[in-house]
Amino acid sequence: MADIVLSQTAATEKRAIAARRGGFMDSRFRILTWLASIIVIVIFAGVILSLSIGSMPAIKAFGLPFIYTENWNPVTEKFGALASIYGTLITSFLAMLVAVPVGIGIAIFLTEICPRPLRRPIGISIELLAGIPSIIYGIWGLFVFAPAFQQGLQPWLIDLFGNIPVLQDFFAGPPYGIGIFTSAMILSIMVLPFISAVTRDVFETVPATLKEAAYAMGCTTWEVMWRVVLPFARTGVVGGAMLALGRALGETMAVTFVIGNAHHIQKSLFAPGTTISATIANEFTEAVGDLYLSSLIEMGLILFFITFVVLACAQLMLGALERRAGGVSA
């Protein structure tokens, strides 16, 4: 009898120990997952901190004028980032000018016009463009696109705009093939899938009743898209475009190959230029002297700041959309 009681208590005790160990394991697992998510924040903070520390010498030496002076002279150690910042902004701007309408067009095609069996394959093919690594765009741009552009489209554009007062300045100069315009074209191809994918997803959240109501009023497909679907999906489309813009601003390799790495701001879009990322990629390993390195790091910090603002806007817009989509489906 006593034995039975004893073994029973032993068993319950063992179970209690197991349960306690389970509880210990449980909280340890929880803490591990918590730590892992803290790592994400630590990385982000680390990027900002380390770049800030690294760029201190340049900030001390040049101060605010770093952002708005153009001369970039490693010999005299005078650095100003304006040419790179200008290049980054102008290439991304031109890329968006092409990619936004085309991306929306693709989304319209995929949701409205494309025969159903073809939708998935075509959608996937377009998204494959996003999967191709940027170095591939770079080598393709350098060896295939730029020479073709130089011989075909570029002289034609120079002739076409040659006598138009304002435009002739933008499309002037010898056709090098490489330059700001070429980089922007390649960027626009790269970010196209981001815009079309987000836009298509947003279009699909438009309630069918809205579209049906518009069709019932006698609207054409285009009128339904332009007057009903696009206004409804506006936030999402803008969010998708911002996301693509964030990518374009920070894109390195595709641009580095074809931009020409020239630290001047020229009016002509056919002239070679540089972007922040291209300058860093081209010059970082060859930079001698702390000030040179530090200037490059400061440019990295500026780039991170610009993309942070753009991507944060994109997040907020797409986040608002997600909440709304959640509300609709619930």
């Binding site: 982000f44 067009g105 690594p133 060896f143 899938p193 285009w222 920070g250 970082f284 993309t307």
Partner: protein, 281 residues
């Protein structure tokens, strides 16, 4: 009569804009076709057995990409080995423990920023914290910079996939008396396994072509090297260097390397897609 004109104008405008959108789709597909054909055309002429057995050559002589392929495999492998557990755990926290907590909201936001942040900045970050401290470029630094890129990808897909797991499964396991960690490990992770693997595949696809962060972390190495404390060759940086050079035979190798990377990336993303669709059905 006036109505008829208006009607016709609306119809022709409709036709005009819809054909524009067809053209837009053709535009996208055209570039894809253009890129892939020139890649295969130029790449295959450089592919030979030597590609996998010989080292990167000095200009003017014969060689392959063996050391670069090895370096890419080693560094990607290290990055995935380090980044997957961290990303998996962080994604688990976001989806399971802190689904509605303020911290999770913040982590999600930061993670999505990191997901699209310029990769060259990652390179600068690792340069500052590892290369400067170690006083040398190294494969470790290259792997670390790739890890920073892997983590956000895995976090995002893990969280998304865990959120798809129905709560009924978790509740059923809890009703059987399983502790939370056991529920996660034996029920939700298992239910979301295909999705999580998809995320890892996508992360591998993403880093296999990353060049910018490796430029000043792993640098490059002309020789066969397995020393992780030394600079290590890797495909993207070799492609960059060779393509920017004036030598014809280096260009050929660069194309061959580009083809290798593209095939890898395409295979990975197709595998990820198949996994994903098998999960959905």
């Amino acid at each position: 009569m006036k109505n008829k004109r208006l009607y016709n104008r609306r119809r022709s405008r409709n036709a005009f804009f819809l054909s524009l959108s067809v053209l837009a789709a053709l535009f996208g597909l055209l570039w894809l076709g253009f890129i892939l054909t020139s890649l295969f055309y130029n790449g295959f002429s450089g592919v030979s057995g030597k590609l996998f057995t010989e080292m990167t050559p000095p200009p003017g002589s014969d060689g392959g990409l063996a050391n670069a392929i090895l370096g890419s495999l080693v560094m990607s492998g290290l990055a995935v080995a380090a980044g997957t557990p961290i990303g998996l755990m962080a994604g688990t926290y976001l989806a399971e423990y802190g689904r509605y907590s303020r911290l999770s909201f913040f982590v999600r936001f930061i993670n999505d920023i990191l997901l699209s942040a310029p990769s060259i900045v990652t390179g600068l970050f690792i340069y500052e914290i590892i290369v400067v401290k170690m006083h040398s470029f190294s494969a470790w630094a290259g792997a670390a910079s790739l890890t920073v890129i892997v983590i956000p990808v895995v976090v995002r897909t893990t969280e998304n996939m865990l959120l798809l797991v129905p709560n009924g499964l978790r509740e059923a396991a809890a009703a059987l008396g399983a502790p939370r960690s056991a529920i996660i490990r034996t029920v939700t992770w298992r239910a979301a396994r295909a999705g999580i693997v998809t995320g890892v595949l996508l992360a591998v696809a993403r880093i296999s072509g990353e060049t910018a962060p490796l430029l000043f972390t792993a640098l490059n190495n002309q020789f066969w090297s397995t020393d992780l404390n030394k600079p290590m060759a890797n495909l993207p940086v070799v492609i960059f260097q060779f393509a920017m050079s004036p030598y014809e035979d280096w260009h050929k190798l660069a194309w061959a390397g580009a083809l290798l990377i593209t095939i890898t990336v395409l295979a990975l993303s197709i595998a990820a897609r198949i996994l994903e669709s098998s999960k959905r059905s």
